[in-house]
Symmetry: C2
Subunit: 709 residues, 2 copies
């Protein structure tokens, strides 16, 4: 790829970014778009629908940027919780790393690379006509002493990243503890989920749970709620809710809509009446089903609540029964966070569904290679010309070929990548997790490894699955193969940062899809529709930032030119996500920083991958002393990781006894606790089992008993 092709891509994407920024600056001030751009503020009642028109509303203004810039960590923590803070810390962490690496890369490594003569001499007269390879390590002469500078850079950056990782882990760990100390008593702190409850013949799950915990935890046991299978019920309730909504819509609409012929020659009926009867019928069904379910469809799982956090922790951490596959305990999620549909109570079923999901992930990975290969074909213009000879005439136009090699491949890839997070979320959800947060955490991991495998390795080795797998079955030669293939793809990944990073982040700001949805549904919506405030899809955004981190770390000494683009991306992401957290996203749950270990692991993996590439490169460049001297680095990095696992990870899995007991004692004499315990007893009841009542309320539109969610 030539410098000019890169510049084309940068040009297109910068244009798009500016366009998105300008449009956003204007549209966000229009009251009719408040639902898209400031749903959170609307929901919180902080933004009123001003209808007064003024000219200022039509001019783009950067006010929101300075507003976002001024936000402090305390603001984010208080408004969006610790998870949002952790997310922002990922970005600031990456900013720190790549500013440091960028200074080394641009001011030291880049000049060294470009004065090399292995490939071409740099053509200063016409910079844009140089190949990008001139700026990579490939241009340094084999055996050159200059390579020791790259060697030192690898060491220095590794040490810098490890130090930063250590301090960051410590900081977030302490924040997590502080968050727990400052939190109000919450149901999930006092509750555990018990699965695989053995039931003796003739007695129910409920009696079994009660007798077990009354026997073995008599002083701390408070209450329990048995989990029911309510899939059918939930769909009934959903149906009645939909019916209720259209009924509301009908009643508020013009009166001629209220009558319609049933069938072709049927008589005109009062639709309102018709719907109301139908609704009553469904509600009857729901009530029947509810009494049925509460009697029969018990699963062998229950939420068990305790009188203290420590009591819950003790019951959770100790193996309860002689058979370790019975009475399997885990921490309960927040009541709103519970995800019921795919709940599996048996130990064996959960295990099998996990295996199935692993297989599905492997299958998905293999299938996904097809679009990746197509994309790869595009970067090799000559190959494309051979395959489609009729394109030859078009491809000779400079601009077209530049767009095709510089922009199109990563755009296609990005579109395909868009569907991965929802698929992974679905796979995680059938894996037997009980909460949205666990599902997203697991999906986050899946998406991350999927991205690394399918974007990084598939692009680098640009081959079929089998050839990829065969490379990993031959671990001795991995560094050598990486050293050959990774630098060759530098220009693709620089373009990828610009396309996928810059544009997709700005389109996040502009919220294209919600905007389209909002425009499309505007005519069908009634004013009574609830405003849906979205939550940030961590499983989409964290892997993306982390993947750019991986690209930055692996390429910083190979092709330092990637770093400025990466820094621009990170700055954009910083401002945009700060803005979105205050205006758009509402936290759906709070894991109190449990996403950080994923970040840490990904960074460690990036470092070790970078070391493997370095070993290969130095061998390839005939500087074998350097490649030998790199060897201790991955070992030390992994040892460092092992230390961090021991030092910090336990605090992210569970809270220590010290903290739990202190917190319990703080509240021992709090009179508000009695009320809290009353609430706790019913906190985990299935919303589908709550009584619902829509039909009678359709007459009085303003006070619907929306007890079901």
């Amino acid at each position: 790829m030539l410098v000019s092709a890169l510049l084309t891509s940068v040009g297109i994407n910068s244009g798009l970014c500016v366009l998105f920024f300008v449009l956003y600056s204007i549209l966000r001030k229009q009251p009719s778009y408040y639902e898209v751009y400031v749903p959170r503020l609307l929901a919180e009642g902080n933004s009123k629908r001003r209808s007064r028109f003024n000219l200022e509303r039509l001019l783009p203004s950067p006010g929101w940027i300075t507003k976002a810039w001024k936000l402090s960590e305390e603001d984010i923590l208080s408004s969006s919780g610790l998870d949002a803070l952790v997310f922002m810390r990922i970005i600031t962490f990456s900013l720190k790393v790549f500013t440091f690496a960028g200074i080394i890369g641009i001011f030291i490594l880049l000049p060294v690379n470009s004065i090399g003569t292995q490939l071409h001499e740099i053509d200063f007269a016409d910079l844009s006509n140089n190949s990008l390879d001139v700026f990579t390590i490939s241009n340094v002469k084999s055996g050159s002493k200059w390579l020791w500078i790259h060697f030192s850079a690898v060491y220095i950056v590794t040490i810098f990243v490890c130090c930063l990782l250590y301090f960051e882990y410590r900081y977030i760990s302490s924040k997590r503890i502080a968050y727990f100390y400052s939190s109000k008593p919450q149901p999930h702190q006092f509750t555990i989920l018990v699965r695989s409850i053995p039931v003796s013949f003739g007695s129910g799950v409920s009696e079994s749970v009660e007798s077990f915990f009354k026997e073995f935890h008599p002083t701390t046991y408070l209450s329990h709620v048995v989990v029911h299978r309510t899939n059918k019920l939930r769909s009934l309730i959903h149906e009645s809710k939909k019916l209720y909504k259209s009924l509301l819509h009908l009643q508020s609409g013009p009166s001629h809509q209220k009558y319609r012929r049933i069938g072709l020659f049927g008589k005109r009926v009062d639709l309102v009446d018709h719907y109301e009867k139908k609704l009553e019928g469904i509600e009857q069904n729901v009530r029947l089903e509810q009494s049925d379910v509460s009697l029969a469809q018990e699963t062998r799982a229950a939420f068990v609540s305790f009188k203290s956090r420590y009591g819950a922790a003790v019951a959770c951490h100790l193996q309860q029964s002689i058979n370790p596959t019975h009475w399997v305990t885990e921490q309960a999620p927040e009541p709103d966070d519970v995800y019921w549909p795919f709940f599996s109570s048996s130990f064996l079923r959960k295990w099998i569904s996990k295996l199935v999901v692993v297989l599905a992930c492997i299958l998905l990975t293999i299938l996904f290679l097809i679009p990746v290969l197509v994309v790869q074909g595009l970067t090799n213009l000559s190959q494309l010309e051979i395959m489609f000879p009729f394109l030859k005439s078009i491809l000779t136009i400079t601009f077209v070929s530049q767009v095709i090699t510089g922009y199109l491949p990563s755009l296609i890839l990005q579109l395909f990548l868009k569907i991965v997070p929802p698929i992974m979320e679905f796979l995680s959800s059938i894996q037997g997790y009980i909460s949205h947060s666990d599902i997203e955490k697991s999906a986050c991991n899946k998406v991350l490894w999927f991205t690394i495998w399918n974007i990084f390795f598939a692009t680098v080795f640009s081959g079929s699955v089998l050839s990829q797998v065969s490379i990993f079955l031959d671990p001795k030669n991995i560094p050598g193969k990486l050293a050959v293939s990774v630098p060759a793809q530098a220009s693709f990944f620089i373009a990828y940062v610009v396309t996928s990073g810059w544009t997709s982040t700005s389109s996040d700001l502009f919220r294209i899809i919600p905007l389209i949805c909002s425009l499309a549904t505007r005519c069908f919506k009634s004013a009574n529709d609830e405003l849906e405030v979205p939550s940030i899809p961590y499983h989409r955004d964290i892997p993306r930032v982390l993947f750019f981190g991986l690209l930055g770390i692996t390429y910083f000494f190979l092709a330092p030119l990637i770093l400025p683009f990466l820094l621009v991306y990170l700055c954009l992401a910083y401002i945009i996500f700060l803005n979105q957290f205050t205006n758009v996203y509402m936290p759906k749950y709070e894991t109190a920083g449990k996403f950080w270990p994923i970040v840490h692991n990904s960074m460690i993996f990036s470092l070790v991958l970078m070391h493997a590439i370095a070993i290969g490169i130095f061998t390839l460049k005939k500087l074998s002393i350097a490649s030998t001297l790199i060897f201790p680095l991955p070992v030390l990095t992994l040892l460092f990781n092992e230390y961090c696992r021991k030092r910090f990870l336990p605090n992210f899995v569970a809270y220590p006894a010290e903290v739990l007991l202190k917190k319990d004692r703080q509240e021992e004499n709090d009179p508000a606790m009695a009320e809290f315990f009353n609430h706790l007893v019913t906190a985990y009841e299935d919303p589908a089992l709550m009584p619902i009542q829509y039909s009678a309320t359709t007459d009085s539109l303003n006070s619907p008993l929306l007890s079901s969610n």
Copy 2:
């Protein structure tokens, strides 16, 4: 190797076995050898030193065999504990497996192999002149339909072994729980070991422990004992004990020994007086040191005892402090089982010493390949002749060459292997384990993997470390390489079973080394020397049995001829170990079956290794459908293992809450518990800190205050 060479080896070893059996049968009846052959009975007072002579004493008798045969599991359990029972179950488990595999192997596979014609046709006229390879799978024609019989055998035996493993794991797990229920209250059930205790400036470890546990475990905390560094003290005590012994020896000996010249021209001194003074001096030192140690040399570790087993378990399983590397808890070992010398209290030091030990193990493995290579050279006579031409004339004698190829290699190997268990035990002991049992368990694992690597793989691949490692760095080709190399070494391993298995087990019975030691020290011993009852070195014997299990499982379908020899070995081992448990070995500690998971893992590894070989063999034999159809087998085996890990392993790590609470409640109102708790408070005090007093007691020989052990 020819059948005749194998028969030579079998002949020599059978002769040795018979010799050992006869000698044992005679010597065990001689009162002067009671210390060697029935030390346990002597120590328990069940065997009196009969001095009446009769002829029967000089005739070998098989009475001990029938006696051992009649022992039931209950007898072993009550006399030698659950660990001994588990050990015997390893042997009976192997017996069951190889009887089943043996029936298939000898009656189905062996005939199939020998009618094959790939290598040679079998020579029925002169059976002993056939190469052993005629009886292996190598003799079956490539692509032959007969190979499906081998294929089915692999499936059937795998299923059989897995079923047996499942039932065995379940049986031992239930035995473990039953053992716990029936056990008397023991100090280690109520105690945990806490390491990395943080100490605030100005306060001691003891105060720190007390305030922490009084704050966070107020209802269950009982007492604690801080661990001290007592290495120096222990060597002083050892010295004084030795001095005391020689003093006793002097006093009981003839009077002319009591005087000796000091120096060449020095005056004659009363040695008793001299020794007594020296002893008094040392004891003075000990007392000084003791008061010093108890004040200064505290380590940051302590044994903390609780009022209930459940209390101890709760404190042990919950992370105590915000910093997970502080207040690190683990279950305490039995007081007699504590191993003090290499105690390291800090988290980081323990971690580093573990790394060092891993490195040492790798180094040892590499160094050990030298003798293995020498042994390998011996099996290739032609190579030997080239290297040492002067041996040519000797090597042409049939008997010599048969001894060299059939017997010598495994004898040398076995002698070298003798030193491995003590080295591994030493390495485990510096790894930071706190008890003999943990050390032996860890050493058991180390010896097992060392044996598998250095005997199995080194022999099979018969190459340098580098070529071995390079094979494992190329995992795709492992089955292929195994398929070529493993059957080629069948005859070596058959000889190995005979030499190492038969002879070393019978020499265990005969106890050669203790016998020589006893003969050598007989003249120096006084009657007052304590009788030392040995304990069984599990880290030597378990890996040996397991390694034979691995050989049997991997070779049963390749060279079924190995199975009869293996069965003979197992029968020998069964009788001999039963006999030794009653007569010789006294249990030193009780892990209640914690060795079983090692056995289980080793069996699973053997199965998967066998599958890998099968895949390779069937590919080699051009029956690729069979090799594809084997693929699910290792996957299913590993899944089965994973299930067992979840289903049974937790019970081997810790006792479940249910069991602990039931046991606690049983004893709640037992009046004997008050006394037990009194004893518990001091149970973990360092024996080196107990007052000692030898000097004053030398006059009255019959009541020495042997308070120190």
